[in-house]
Homo-oligomer: 352 residues x 2
DNA sequence: ATGATCTCTTGGATCGGTTCAAATCTACGC
DNA sequence: GCGTAGATTTGAACCGATCCAAGAGATCAT
């Protein structure tokens, strides 16, 4: 059903009695060929079942693929299932759409396959979603000698072109919001600090975290709360992983003799799971507990109650990332984009 | 930062003092070259900043891209935002993942760009999401002379390789479920029947629909209801488009002197919007009205109440589509995959 | 007629690899 | 010292187009 004996441009040219060059022009620069000739070549091509210039051939010559790859160390379905990834992909694709650039999904949970996929992806550059295994991903991508930009990179490395957010600043905003409402007893529901960890963390574990994203957010919370007279030692930080670990953590937090009146969650996902647990326990948000998320995913707007959260400027991140790659002008180092806070119904004054 | 003077294989070969052929073998068939030579060439390559064999060059020779394209006549963000598309994409990507195949997103709302994108996509074949503009899409894809499979194609055309579902059968299941619960007064909340239409349809308009998907579902509903003694004329069919048109339609349905006790919705999306309207009006589901959706998207499980719906076997559709393309064995004609019904809380016995 | 312009066409070089038949090298047996 | 099988290398052909300098024709003014 597909290409059969693969008719090529040269065949069409011969059959039509013109040179290869002319035949090529008929397809890629029709205006320079005389109408009569063009029609004839086109007709011959159609008759022979020629499927237009092979992309491969053209490609070899042009060098540009006109597509960018988006890579992650995750199964490919991640792009369509994870809320953050999805939101980001939607923004990236909107930018690509506008500039007529194609997108290729490059991904694999399996290291070996990932190597191969990155090596052989037909793209002009990469956008790396570094939520997990970021360093490895960057290293692999480097070898392709193509422009790339890392997003959500969890490690500090000045030599990696990154577009991101200022996590300390974002966390600060969340903490300030709650502190200004009058809260003084807090707990932090964190994301991953180190490979596979979970549970209550010590100050040292927080500062020595593998993933700087989590570390910076914790530091941002602590620092700002301190300004309001809340001692960091009084603000426990729980590391979480899957849903079960999140529930365990919230349970631990509220098992305390004097539970917090406000929760600082390092991601909307964590916050939403926590809200579910709270609802099950009959604790009202925000009357009994206020909670602030982080990321600004769509789901946060639709939850009951809607979640106050720090929203990431995904559209702007996407725009800058795609532009950087298309123009082969990747930032020399990390570039930060300002965050905003969306105040919704999950936060309020603490109980008197 | 990217490739500079672009070192090529020939350069490395010259520098290392071996032939181009040997250099090529070092990278693509390392086992045939002597260790000593291999090491030396590899070292030279690294020193010169050679980024491995260019994919383009290899490609030209090999002919296989090892990627399939998924195309739709929609803005690219559609793949990440539309519930049905997302669910399907997740399944497709799972299959691709398993076989190490890459995925490229090919899409554009703009006809001209779409043509170009399809023409130049670097893929071995296409999966077409034909929810809208299906015929045009098929036509364009044909020209590439690559294997392709159409999904959710809304038109009857035996010459198009399609993998789909039996819409009549699915609609039948929905209708039977409600009829067996005892319902006798129905209304159909339909999807698009013809380009841009909306509102109450006549029998003739239903049967003469442009989109066979909607037509078949309507026919399935009517046919089965008739078996239960419900005359087709008593079951109004409303065509809908955007959210506003859906709300208008439900409003019209419930403005009737004897409103139906059950709604047959042709898609989960339509059903969910309708449920929202019903909730606003204080009508309880299923106590006052039962409703059955179609598609089986994730959101249908999470709605309040969870929606009874006809679920499409997306995983199986995805598997067959990807396999067909990878093996260049596209079905000669339409192939149907059986549907199942997920009975949830949105349906119950009618009020006595 | 002759030369100057213009408009098309042509053919060969090139993109960056892979492939494979033939050439070269080694080691080993007699 | 000679022949031979086996292991490596080589070099030219090829994949399917695009690009461009140069050639061929047609048109028009002198």
């Amino acid at each position: 059903m597909a290409t059969k004996a693969t008719v090529k441009l040269a065949d069409v040219a011969r059959e039509a009695g013109v040179s290869k060059g002319t035949a090529s022009n008929v397809f890629s620069r029709p205006e320079v060929v005389r109408d009569e000739v063009r029609e004839h070549v086109l007709a011959t091509a159609k008759a022979m079942g020629y499927g237009g210039p092979s992309v491969q051939g053209r490609l070899l010559r042009a060098g540009k693929v006109n597509a960018i790859g988006v890579a992650a160390v995750e199964p490919m379905a991640y792009f369509f299932e994870d809320p953050w990834a999805r939101a980001l992909m939607a923004e990236i694709s909107a930018v690509c759409d506008a500039s007529g650039t194609g997108m290729a999904l490059v991904s694999a949970k399996n290291q070996q396959k990932l190597v191969w996929n990155i090596q052989s992806a037909l793209v002009d550059g990469f956008i790396l979603l570094c939520v997990e295994g970021g360093e490895k991903l960057v290293e692999l991508t480097r070898e392709r000698h193509l422009p790339f930009v890392a997003l959500a990179l969890g490690v500090d490395d000045k030599s990696i072109p990154t577009i991101g957010i200022d996590n300390i600043e974002g966390a600060s905003m969340a903490a300030r919001h709650l502190a200004e409402l009058g809260h003084r007893r807090f707990a932090v529901l964190g994301t991953e600090f180190s490979e596979g960890g979970a549970g209550l963390l010590t100050d040292g574990q927080v500062r020595g975290a593998t993933f700087s994203t989590s570390r910076d957010r914790a530091i941002g919370y602590w620092r700002t709360l301190a300004e309001f007279g809340v001692a960091p030692e009084s603000v426990p930080v729980y590391e979480t992983q899957d849903v079960a670990s999140i529930r365990t953590a919230v349970a631990a937090i509220f098992a305390a003799p004097e539970p917090p009146t406000a929760i600082l969650a390092m991601s909307d996902r964590v916050a939403l799971v926590a809200m579910e647990w709270l609802a099950e326990q009959g604790l009202r948000v925000p009357e009994d507990v206020s909670i602030v998320g982080f990321d600004g995913v769509k789901e946060a707007e639709l939850s009951e109650p809607p979640l106050t959260t720090i929203v990431q400027p995904l559209a702007e991140i996407a725009r800058q990332a795609v532009q950087a790659i298309l123009q082969d002008a990747v930032p020399a180092q990390r570039r930060s984009i300002p965050l905003t806070i969306a105040v919704r119904a999950s936060t309020g004054k603490p109980k008197a």
